[in-house]
Amino acid sequence: MIRATGLTKDYGSRRAIENLTFEANQGEIVGFLGPNGAGKTTTMRILTGYMPPTYGTAQVAGFDIIEESMEVRRRVGYLPETVPLYPDMTVYGYLKFMADLRHLPDPDDMIDETLEIVGMTERADGYISNLSKGMRQRVGLAQALLHKPEVLILDEPTIGLDPAQVVEVRNIIREIGKQRTVLLSTHILSEAQQVCDRVLILNRGRIVAEDTPENLQARLMGAERAILTVKGDADGLAALLAQIKGVKNVQARPDGGVEFQFAPGMDVRPEVARQTIQAGYDLLELRLMGLSLEEIFLELTRDSKISK
């Protein structure tokens, strides 16, 4: 469980995050989504006890991050943005070191189990300096999972992984997220969509939206959008569509298609198709374009820039 109230962090005179209040419950995977410099890493560093907030507080796994930092740290697994590894150690040696710091009762069993989960069993005796970037990322993840923490905080966990590994790591996270609390940050919107139960969109240190990926999508879709493509020359098509009742915001696209919008309740597509054919165009395609999370994200982060 994570419960943050009014978290604010100033680096000197620069405010990195401002008044963040949010929750992540047990059995929930929450995604932090935001552009570079949004404050994702800063927030995670505060929650893991790396640095104190300037204002505000938070509870992690039932303990106060400032007053009971040690209790929090015992219960949190953290994968920082720069994967913290010692290249001169073996994978096993590194995990043993972490197991010792965490006073694990049977370190060898837990190390074996974790290596199995991240698929690094074969490389256990290899030096970290000889591992590929993706493998290092997985060793970093192993370190975070090692002590079966109640709360898992992962800063861009799939960065640098190949597509197959990305799928694997997402599956690991989803599996863990069933019983525990996971907070992860990402730039990859499809990742948030696939993995997270809830998404917090962060921009310039503030939460600009918070909902399930599906709801965010639905909420922001004020209008349906469709695209029409005809064979050959599309001259005059935009003008034609603009005259049809219910069709709004017609735009000719550089690739020859024409994009338009209409109110969700009244589908204008049959009329559009009829008129296009009647006007002598060869209709190739008429399809709806869902607003992707990507566009929602851009929309939100652009809006909050304007409102500033």
Binding site: G49, Y50, M51, V76, P80, V83
Partner: protein
């Protein structure tokens, strides 16, 4: 305490992979070896002349030269202790692990201390051999007191180095800051101690060289022990505070 040991033993092992540590060990042992050969010359003179022009002592061949070497070796050994963790990002791992800041700093210092003690154990060969060669043997009391002085002196200087390493992100900055502090404690505070009689007690007490040489002569005085131990404590305390300040930025 367990955490201190975890940190210290990782650090200790790391020294055996570090070229700097090998160079330090090599230079200390080489210098002691060369000076030992000069001492043998003195032993040889004895067999011809019937007396020692310069009686061979552990202080002359090992303790004093090693202490002098430590002025440069200690900053080289400690400079990367925490700076390197900061640079590589592993400090974030340690500062979010269930580990107190003082345990981290003391563990780092202890790792360096144990490494250099290992080197010192090797140098024990020299007083042992000298004791065999010299009749009626070397001054055991002075040797023991001298080694104790060397160990305490090393503990204190490594603690100062550890403190600077936790202050600086850059290893070389840590190296030079440590070296300058050593030069101050070894030489510079000795000057006002001689020049300004009013302040001589104060500056004289800070003078590391005076404490070291007084112990090397075989006198184990409380004020010398207190000096080295409190310097060690101050170094470790400042190092811990530096880590805490780092968290606040």
């Amino acid at each position: 305490m367990r955490n201190v040991w975890t940190i210290a033993s990782r650090e200790y092992r790391h020294y055996f992979l570090s070229p700097v540590a090998y160079i330090v060990a090599f230079l200390i042992l080489m210098l002691a070896g060369i000076l030992f050969v000069f001492q043998l010359k003195s032993v040889q003179d004895m067999t011809y002349q019937g007396y020692y022009p310069n009686p061979p002592t552990a202080a002359n061949s090992v303790i004093y030269p090693t202490a002098f070497m430590m002025l440069f070796a200690a900053p080289a050994l400690t400079m990367r202790l925490l700076s390197e963790e900061q640079r590589s990002g592993t400090l974030e791992l340690l500062l979010t692990a269930p580990l107190k800041d003082w345990e981290l700093v003391v563990g780092k210092w202890l790792g360096a201390f144990m490494y250099i003690l290992t080197v010192y154990v090797i140098t024990l060969i020299i007083p042992i051999v000298l004791n065999r060669l010299v009749v009626p043997g070397i001054d055991i009391k002075a040797t023991v007191a001298g080694y104790l002085a060397l160990i305490l002196f090393t503990a204190a200087f490594l603690a100062i180095g550890t403190a600077f390493s936790s202050m600086f992100n850059n290893q070389f900055a840590a190296f030079f800051a440590t070296l300058i502090t050593f030069v101050l404690l070894w030489w510079v505070v000795g000057w006002p101690a001689n020049l300004i009689p009013a302040a001589s007690g104060f500056f004289g007490y800070l003078h590391a060289y005076a404490h070291l040489t007084s112990m090397m002569q075989g006198a184990i005085a409380l004020k010398d022990l207190v000096y080295f131990l409190s310097l060690t404590a101050v170094g470790l305390f400042v190092g811990t505070v530096a880590i805490e300040i780092r968290r606040w930025q």
